[in-house]
Symmetry: C2
DNA sequence: ATTCGTTGTAATGTCAATAATTACAACTGA
DNA sequence: TCAGTTGTAATTATTGACATTACAACGAAT
């Protein structure tokens, strides 16, 4: 299975927040319009981003804003915030290998180490990209 | 969502094939016993691995074997063979960003490049590990 | 040639996650 | 108080994962 589109959605949200912060009040309806997903989905997502301390959402009056400068938020922060994978584990291990088989008894431990390194390689890369980088990419694309 | 357990299952299968090749005929039922998943699931998985040229399966008489030396099969080969992600794309992009919004119109192109690099980092790591490596890890664990 | 164990595959069912949608209470600036 | 918005619950549809039953096709051994 692929990593949930919540992740690209969240990045899209930050791009909108930054791009339109001076022109519009960036509400869940506004974001729903730009992303083409349901406003309730946006609100849940904003809730996760808020819980992670990445955005501020104005209750009552409405509108979302970034809680930090974009160059201080990495894609890894966003990735964790929106909980793309369970327990932060990229690979889903088959649950109950047979412990009376020598392979079944040891495969999990033996593989975990390797898989952890794979996951780390990916997360390091995510951590090396900030929302500011993405914003620049989009600005350049817009021109 | 996490990457399907088909991946760890496939690695488990190879470990069994190698470990038991001289003692037992490694059938789908045998593998189902060691992995604790349904034999039909195993057969489908073996079908994918066979299609990728990684295993040979004996029709009629029964039993699976590796089609190449384990040090010539990387985890990336296995990963692709069992089709863990659609179109080989790790990240699922939200489908229809609004093209009349400057952000919506450009986010996909702008992000794809970055995400491709993240995916590459992960795949490079997967490609650096062979089934032989994993086999050794398990042998060491068994002792 | 028949038998027996096995593979390949179709059909069905269950379960969990994604995402859309409706509805509405709670909040807050005007 | 009012209007616009957020937070959240409830419901539904769709999809993928995986289990399970069933059975035809296959091939080695007798």
């Amino acid at each position: 299975m692929q990593i949930s589109s919540r992740f690209t959605l969240a990045v899209h949200i930050f791009a909108c927040i930054d791009t339109f912060k001076d022109e519009y009040k960036v509400t869940s309806d506004f974001l729903a319009g730009s992303t083409n997903v349901n406003p309730v989905v946006i609100r849940k997502l904003l809730g996760q981003l808020k819980a992670a301390g990445l955005v501020e959402v104005a209750r009552g009056t409405g509108g979302a804003s970034a809680a930090k400068p974009l160059n201080e938020i990495t894609l890894l922060d966003v990735y964790y915030a929106v909980e793309c994978v369970e327990n932060g584990e990229l690979f889903h291990f088959h649950e109950n290998p047979n412990t009376s088989c020598p392979v079944g008894r040891n495969i999990h431990r033996a593989l975990d180490d390797r898989l952890f390194r794979v996951q780390n390689a990916m997360e390091r890369e995510l951590a090396s990209i900030t929302l500011e980088d993405v914003k620049q990419d989009i600005q350049n694309a817009i021109v």
